[in-house]
């Protein structure tokens, strides 16, 4: 699933490791989320949003593909 986690993280100047520690997961999980190769649960999505001070809409929203 495409998302803007990497943009949000880099904007705040956080490394993958730092974001991972903030949300309580491993660095690999953050890496896979950024690549769109792992779909996080809503709970983890919210944790990431809290960590990067953005809303779910801003980080995870996608327009429906036709």
């Amino acid at each position: 699933m495409e998302n803007k986690v990497k943009i949000a993280r880099v904007t705040l100047g956080l490394t993958q490791q730092e974001l991972a520690e903030k949300v309580g997961v491993t660095r690999q999980t953050i890496s896979l989320i950024e690549k769109g190769r792992y779909n996080p649960t809503l709970k983890l999505c919210l944790e990431i949003c809290y960590a990067v001070n953005q809303t779910l809409d801003e980080v995870f929203w996608q327009e429906r593909k036709e």
């Binding site: 309580g24 997961v25 690999q28 999980t29 792992y38 996080p40 649960t41 709970k43 983890l44």
Partner: protein, 139 residues
């Protein structure tokens, strides 16, 4: 060992456990098949592994019931379904009582015993399903 908090790793762990379970079940089936070939049906059922296999089968069946209940599409009330189940179970138990009692070497008491065991074995899952349906309805 530290407790895993990462949801992705927890999911991966569950998938690993599934693979382990498959291998373990294949191993158990292999052992039971070996016993069946070499020592016959009694030899197989005397092995404690047979008890483990049956127990896991029963647990799996009970756990699957909660999934089946949520997958049901019928709108019939749980009470009606329980009454239907109890009717069918009573009928099946009575058939067991009759056929056992009519078999040579067995009497009515044996029939009642077999019928009673069948009744209890079938009535427990019926009430369990009823409980699950009621719970699902309340949600």
């Amino acid at each position: 060992m530290e407790k895993i908090k990462d949801e992705r790793l927890q999911l991966k762990n569950l998938k690993n456990i599934r693979i382990t379970f498959i291998v373990q079940t294949l191993g158990i089936l292999g052992i039971l098949l070996y016993d069946l070939i070499n020592y016959g049906m009694d030899g197989m059922t005397n092995n404690p592994v047979w008890f483990v296999f049956i127990l896991t089968g029963v647990i799996n069946a009970y756990l699957s019931m909660s999934i089946s209940v949520e997958h049901e599409k019928t709108k019939r009330s749980p009470v009606t379904r329980l009454y239907i189940s109890l009717g069918v179970i009573t009928l099946i138990s009575l058939l067991f009582v009759t056929f056992t009692a009519l078999t040579n070497g067995y009497n009515v008491m044996d029939g009642l015993l077999v019928g009673g065991i069948v009744f209890v074995c079938l009535v427990l899952p019926a009430f369990y399903m009823y409980g699950l349906r009621q719970k699902e309805r309340d949600e």
